[in-house]
């Protein structure tokens, strides 16, 4: 009973602290929005949903012929208007300089002999050069792939022409005088780059919950930032028992007819209650403000919240038990929170981590919690999907809690 009053008192103190609330509630929401917006476009696959739009590209056309102009037209066409923001540059040097200054992500240079190569019946070949910005990672790849696709559009004509010549010359006996028409027919057939029959790539997405407004990255970063700031809150709250010792309120509690076990239970309970409320408010706020869908299983969500907070609170209690003093507990807490965050994927999608990092990532509470929450918020999973994570989190909580309640009372032996 007294434990409950201690837990309520601690929760009251924490939620009375306006600046503390900024860090507990406002910070994770703000950061989730920033990260969500940054990765926001990465939904559903396909170019339309590509996060990268309006890539600034400089175009230099050194070719005087008709086909160079065709390439320019394609680059400036409405089809690519979303993806590219092209502009003509005077010459190669100017375009390179623009890339070097970072004004454009890439420069496309159509060589002087381009049209000649397209129309040549011989083995003439030429190269479109793409100068890329080395500081950018994705947009140069995209520009390059677009230019390659354009180049491929010319290739069938040229190659087709060449192959036709070779094949039909072998058929000379059959064709007879008709062979005389060969050059004209080849010229007509090749050079036609207008959309040869292609293979259409139909893209779709599975395993991700459809989020209103397509703001899907938020479904990752809202739980992610909530977990990060939950850890901060919990480690901060956990060491408050050491603060109470310094301020003598712990001694005062001990001078009342209240057992140490009840006090300890109350302190850890307060941490737990604070954490559950924080996560609850963050989940509610992100649902209300951004329309984030937290999945189909309310029991799953609730157990996940409880498991996450229990695991973090137990670790917080263990840190408190082992630290020399409140200051050291603070330092260890921040360090653990940050290391767990980076390993657990709170800043970047942990599923993109290289294989050797995965086991390390799975050593953190953050990773299991995040996997669980994103099962719900991104993949629209049900109870069965988050059950393994719930089990692991409760397991972590049990281990840390046992260690903590074994070590913690020793701190306070008199």
């Amino acid at each position: 009973m007294k434990s409950i009053y201690i837990a309520l008192k601690d929760t009251l103190i924490r939620f009375r602290d306006r600046n503390g609330l900024l860090l507990m509630l406002a910070a994770p929401l703000v950061l989730a929005v920033i990260c969500g917006a940054a990765f926001g476009g990465l939904t559903g696959g396909g170019e339309a949903a590509s996060p990268i739009t309006d890539i600034p590209v400089a175009v230099v056309n050194a070719d005087r012929g008709e086909y160079g102009q065709q390439v320019v037209d394609i680059l400036f066409s409405a089809d690519l208007a979303k993806l590219l923001a092209p502009a003509l540059a005077a010459d190669v040097a100017a375009a390179r300089a623009q890339v070097e200054r970072g004004d454009v992500r890439a420069a496309v240079v159509i060589p002087a002999d381009f049209s000649e190569a397209v129309t040549s019946q011989g083995d003439a070949s030429t190269a479109i050069r793409v100068f890329t910005d080395p500081t950018a990672t994705y947009s140069p790849l995209i520009v390059r792939s677009i230019v390659e696709q354009i180049a491929n559009g010319f290739s069938p004509g040229i190659l087709g022409g060449r192959v036709a010549v070779a094949q039909l010359l072998e058929q000379a006996p059959v064709l007879g005088p008709a062979l005389a028409q060969l050059p004209a027919a080849v010229a007509e057939a090749s050079g036609r780059s207008d959309a040869p029959a292609g293979i259409e790539l139909v893209t779709s997405t599975v395993g991700a919950e459809e989020q209103a407004g397509g703001f899907n990255a938020l479904a990752y970063f809202a739980p992610s930032m909530a977990i990060l700031f939950l850890m901060f809150t919990i480690f901060e709250a956990s060491r408050s028992i050491l603060g109470e010792e310094r301020e003598w309120t712990l001694q005062r509690m001990l001078s009342t007819p209240t057992g140490f076990g009840a006090i300890l239970a109350g302190k850890i309970g307060g941490v737990f209650l604070t954490g559950v409320l924080q996560l609850g408010v963050l989940i509610g706020a992100s649902a209300l403000l951004f329309g984030l869908n937290w999945g189909h299983s309310l029991p799953g969500l609730i157990l996940l919240v409880i498991g996450t907070v229990a695991a973090a609170a137990s670790l917080g209690a263990l840190i408190t038990a082992l630290a020399r003093d409140a200051a050291q507990a603070g330092i260890i807490g921040s360090a653990v929170a940050l290391i767990f965050a980076i390993l657990g994927g709170n800043f970047l999608d942990s599923r993109a981590y290289p294989a050797w990092l995965q086991p390390l990532s799975k050593l953190t509470i953050n990773r299991w919690a995040l996997d669980g929450f994103t099962d719900l918020s991104m993949r629209g999973g049900g109870f069965g999907d988050v059950f393994p994570e719930i089990v692991v989190l409760f397991g972590i909580a049990a281990v840390f809690f046992t260690l903590a309640v074994w070590r913690l009372p020793r701190r306070f032996v008199r």
């Binding site: 201690i6 309120t249 057992g259």
Partner: protein
């Protein structure tokens, strides 16, 4: 002095060491029901350590104590039910209101909801903070915090109240209020164990006083009994400006004078115990001037607790 009552608190040869460092070295005393008992001693004397053992916060390294028949080592819960503790620190939560603090501590003392409201109102009245009950404690003055600190210790109507230096660091007016409150509570029958390093407080409040120094109780009795230890000596207080004069040399010169029994020095404040103030005074002033120092202030007093402390330890009470 109270009529002879049976003791409500008895300390038997209490010891406490922190590591190898002894802090309390064998303290024994008894407090009668309805008595105000003061432990007077300088910083580090072991007052807080003693109170902590009596309130079951520290386990004695040796010895035992009983409060209202409960042993601090064997029945701490029984002890805790009958004592109210007011720690030397202001053990309150600054960011919640006075009332919220009191309600919380009332719960810790096991008060039920029905009792709680009445007791909170009552103790707020006792310390005269009813009108500030809704305000956060952090907005209180030092004196108000001290009073609220006391109020918490009164919530469960204890039989014995431990007050550990409850007037440290506050203005004279607030101190006055607190002393009056303590007297009033005692008048209503509360037994009080009071620690302080202000001898005036001990003198004013206490029925009996224990003087502590370096972990030991070096004297115990009523104020009258204690001052008799000094004997029929006069006390001369001198305020001295040294102007660069050697302090140690002056002290030895003074101690060597006829009729001077003891010399205590606390910066510019000299305390001398002399057999006869009238005859010794002239020599003393000459000696001071001779040393190149200069007397600013002079006072002749009856022996007091300060004198007792000086007499027993050769050091001034305040360091």
């Amino acid at each position: 002095m109270l009529p002879d009552t049976s003791p409500i608190l008895e300390a038997h040869d209490l010891h406490k060491s922190f590591g190898t460092q002894p802090a309390v070295k064998g303290v024994s005393f008894a407090i009668g029901a309805g008595e105000i008992f003061s432990l007077l001693g300088p910083n580090g004397a072991g007052k807080t350590t003693t109170i902590s053992m009596l309130s079951c916060l520290l386990a004695p390294s040796a010895g035992d104590a009983t409060v209202d028949g409960h042993s601090v080592t064997r029945d701490p819960l029984g002890v805790k039910r009958v004592i109210g503790v007011v720690p030397q620190e202001i053990a309150l939560y600054p960011t919640i209101s006075a009332r919220e603090n009191l309600v919380f501590w009332g719960r810790m003392y096991g008060l039920g909801s029905a009792q709680l409201q009445a007791r909170v109102a009552a103790v707020l009245d006792v310390v005269d903070l009813a009108d500030r009950a809704k305000d956060r404690v952090e907005t209180f003055s030092g004196g108000m915090k001290r009073r609220l600190n006391i109020a918490v210790g009164l919530l469960h109507e204890p039989k014995v109240l431990f007050l550990d230096e409850p007037t440290v660091g506050i203005d004279p007016q607030s101190r006055r209020r607190i002393l009056d409150t303590v007297k009033e509570l005692n008048r209503q029958g509360l037994t009080v164990l009071y620690t302080t390093h202000y001898m005036e407080e001990a003198e004013e409040l206490s029925h009996r006083i224990g003087i502590m120094d370096q972990g030991q109780l070096i004297a115990l009795g009523t104020q009258a009994e204690l001052t008799q230890l000094v004997g029929q000596l006069d006390i001369i207080h001198l305020g001295v400006e040294f102007n660069g004069a050697a302090k140690d040399t002056l002290a030895t010169t003074l101690a060597a004078l006829d009729g001077v029994q003891r010399v205590g020095m606390d910066d510019g404040n000299l305390t001398l115990h002399v057999t006869e103030a009238d005859t010794a005074l002239a020599d003393i002033i000459v000696a001071v001037n001779h040393a190149g120092a200069h007397v600013r202030q002079l006072e002749i007093r009856e022996p007091n607790l300060e004198a007792v402390f000086l007499h027993l330890t050769g050091r001034a009470l305040r360091d």
